[in-house]
Symmetry: C2
Subunit: 188 residues, 2 copies
Amino acid sequence: MTGLTTDPGIRDQVLAAADRLFYARGVQNVGMDAVRSEAGVSLKRLYQVFPSKNALLGEVLRRRSETWDAGLAEASAGATTSREHLLAIFDFLDGWFRSDDFRGCVFVNTFAELGAVSPEVAAVARAHKSRFHRYVEGLVAELGGTADLAAQIALLVEGAQVTAAITGSPVPARQACAATETLLAAIG
Amino acid sequence: MTGLTTDPGIRDQVLAAADRLFYARGVQNVGMDAVRSEAGVSLKRLYQVFPSKNALLGEVLRRRSETWDAGLAEASAGATTSREHLLAIFDFLDGWFRSDDFRGCVFVNTFAELGAVSPEVAAVARAHKSRFHRYVEGLVAELGGTADLAAQIALLVEGAQVTAAITGSPVPARQACAATETLLAAIG
DNA sequence: TAGCCTAGAGAACGATCGTTCTCCCCGCAA
DNA sequence: TTGCGGGGAGAACGATCGTTCTCTAGGCTA
């Protein structure tokens, strides 16, 4: 009927393929042709759905931010207290660090790669981190902790991701968790 | 006399220029021509001193590792106890985070950009982090702390660098310092 | 069946980049 | 003064990449 037939499945396929490749190799090490192959879609279609690589990257990042939230929510499913919600973050990290394709935080990686030359990328990274920071702040406040304590815990989460990526080991999740427990114990 | 006249000043100029540009924009966003211009050296000379961009990057990273050590040593100059040496790390970070051109840890950035496609880059990043980790471990051991405590402090240092880079604020240095003091206080 | 719209495959294009090559000039030895 | 070897500037080359264009085949409408 209309020439703009855009099967929603195609959009998802492309996003999933781009996400996989960008994350695994770095954005600049992945050509649009590789995305096309991985997605099993023609180049024409690809550019019909996303007008440029930058637009595609933007959507990939937006989706990763949602995926992060979803993973966090899933790991917090059994949590009842604020403390449990807080510590569930580290369960989430632990599971993630153990996955075969783990290669650090997409936002940190993309910021490192393109943040200096792309204000949009820098803004998306900042927004994601800021949102997570507020999430932690809310939980810590419920436990009677200060904003500074929340910031400290966020640093541990950040450090765990970077360290797990570079060392290839999942233990930073447990270490960051233990440190958080120590910090929480010092609230009183 | 010999055709291999390689003024040692030129080598330093090139390294300094490459370091500045790679760090400011990301390795892949800097062409060899830009390095050449920044260094004020002919392309021929550049390739006489460093046979390839990869070789140049390798040397830049090696030098950054030394610069890190030197900065740490300088910030620790007045420290006498192990505790002071440990806390001096955060003075070092604070000064660094406040510098205009701060853009995170070179090793983390380069790992994010090239670690997946360049085993050498990944290895250099790992080696640097591992060396710093051992440094912290030594200091913490002198204070009667465990290796796990050292790892926790290292996570704070890592997290502070990433967070300062993305937010553009120097406060993570202070926050990581405060968290470290809390963790140290819990040793007993 | 005839005509047309669409989509796919991939060639083509223009830009960039790492690396090498050419050309020209300068300073030095005889 | 006359060659000559080395160095500088930048053109050139080959590869890659983002993006667009062309060509062809196929399916739907009348």
